[in-house]
């Protein structure tokens, strides 16, 4: 068994799930359910408004989502907290993993960093396009939305898993030999 690969969790699934459910409950009681993907639009809007205000104002969606063109909101700070917490957790448990190419990717598509970085970018593009189209992501739709028994979130999550599993099975076909 290797040490500090950054892969193996130090928190078991039940504790992680319990903690996320508790964070959602506290957030819903104090402010609102948790969500992440809207803040990508907010960041885009505030940035575009700073460099090209006319262009930003031409998108009603940007103007409405990035209301007031400010990042000083509860929602944005929640999202800002995620890398902060991730960093502190990695620091506390010595689980930094600044590898260029993830293990599964390298085994299937080779060790080329350029290829992985390009596909990560494209994956991110598709991810946020889908999230904004559907009005939420894993946090907002799957965790918060399904917890609230929202019909749209059940549909989104079902379509998400069918598509993600099909894509992953296609990208990473099962093989007998490992490594």
């Amino acid at each position: 068994m290797r040490k500090h690969t950054g892969v193996e969790p130090v928190m078991p699934w039940w504790a992680g799930g319990l903690a996320i459910g508790a964070i959602l409950t506290v957030a819903t009681g104090l402010v609102q359910p948790i969500g992440v993907s809207t803040q990508y639009v907010v960041f885009d809007g505030v940035w575009l408004h700073a460099v090209a205000p006319d262009l930003a104002a031409r998108s009603p969606y940007l103007a409405q989502t990035a209301e007031g063109w400010t990042l000083a909101t509860y929602e944005f700070f929640f999202v800002l907290g995620i890398p902060l917490g991730g960093f502190l957790a990695a620091l506390a448990t010595n689980r930094f993993s600044p590898r260029l190419v993830p293990r599964e990717w390298a085994a299937r598509f080779g060790p080329s960093p350029g290829k992985r970085l390009l596909w990560s970018f494209l994956g991110g593009f598709i991810l946020l396009f889908g999230a904004r189209f559907g009005g939420g992501c894993t946090s907002g739709h799957m965790i918060s939305g399904v917890s609230q028994l929202a019909v749209s979130s059940f549909l989104f999550s079902t379509a998400l898993f069918i598509s993600a599993i099909a894509t992953a099975k296609w990208m990473y076909p099962d093989r007998e030999a490992k490594r």
Binding site: V10, M11, W13, W14, G16, G17, G21, T25, T28, G29, V31, Q32, P33, G35, V41, S59, P60, L62, T73, Y74, E75, F77, I82, G85, G86, F87, A89, A90, F96, S97, P98, L100, V101, E104, W105, L117, F121, L122, G123, G124, F125, I126, L127, L128, G130, F133, T138, S139, V146, L149, F156, T158, A159, L160, F161, I162, I165, A166, A168, K169
Partner: protein, 176 residues
């Protein structure tokens, strides 16, 4: 004060994602390949606890609910698109942020791609709204709302089912 609260709750969320392996490309990809169900168990547990917590709060009149709009065709398409991005990148919009903070360059690229994807969506929105978001549009509907009962009556059995399922699914197998 509210900003600080956001930062603290977000940091707690990010720390849990990191510690429980949700920010790991390997863990996500192997969950989607159905090789290692740890992350599926984690999500089911989070939903189960969340359902119970949120609807108990709601019973006491303390929940600030925010239910997303239902537009059947658009939601199904969006979920399918999101799923492809999830499998290709191995991150979701939240876990990419935690992974980026661990120093993973591919997570940075996922965030960069996400910012561009969100921007493109923002400028396509008027078109999409007119043609796709109007199909099968029902507003912010919930299961319990449709039945006309308090959420906890559904959340209690369904939450328990999620937690039971999380417990029953095999876990930890398939990783060295």
């Amino acid at each position: 004060m509210k900003l600080l609260l956001g930062l603290v709750l977000g940091a707690a969320f990010g720390a849990v994602l990191q510690l429980s392996g949700a920010s790991s490309h390997t863990k996500i990809v192997n969950a989607l390949r159905l090789k290692d169900l740890t992350i599926i168990k984690l999500i089911l547990m989070a939903i189960g606890v969340g359902m119970l917590g949120v609807h108990l709060l709601d019973l006491l009149g303390l929940a600030n609910m925010k239910v997303k709009e239902l537009y059947v065709l658009g939601i199904l398409l969006a979920g399918a698109i999101f799923g492809v991005g999830f499998a290709v990148s191995g991150y979701c919009p939240g876990t990419a942020l935690a992974a980026a903070a661990e120093g993973k360059p591919d997570a940075w690229m996922t965030i960069a791609g996400g910012l561009v994807g969100a921007m493109v969506f923002a400028f396509l929105f008027p078109e999409l709204e007119e043609h796709l978001l109007a199909v099968g549009s029902y507003g912010a509907v919930t299961l319990h709302g449709e039945l006309g009962i308090a959420g906890i009556w559904l959340a209690a059995p369904m939450g328990a089912l999620c937690i039971w399922l999380a417990h029953r699914l095999p876990g930890g197998a398939g990783t060295p």
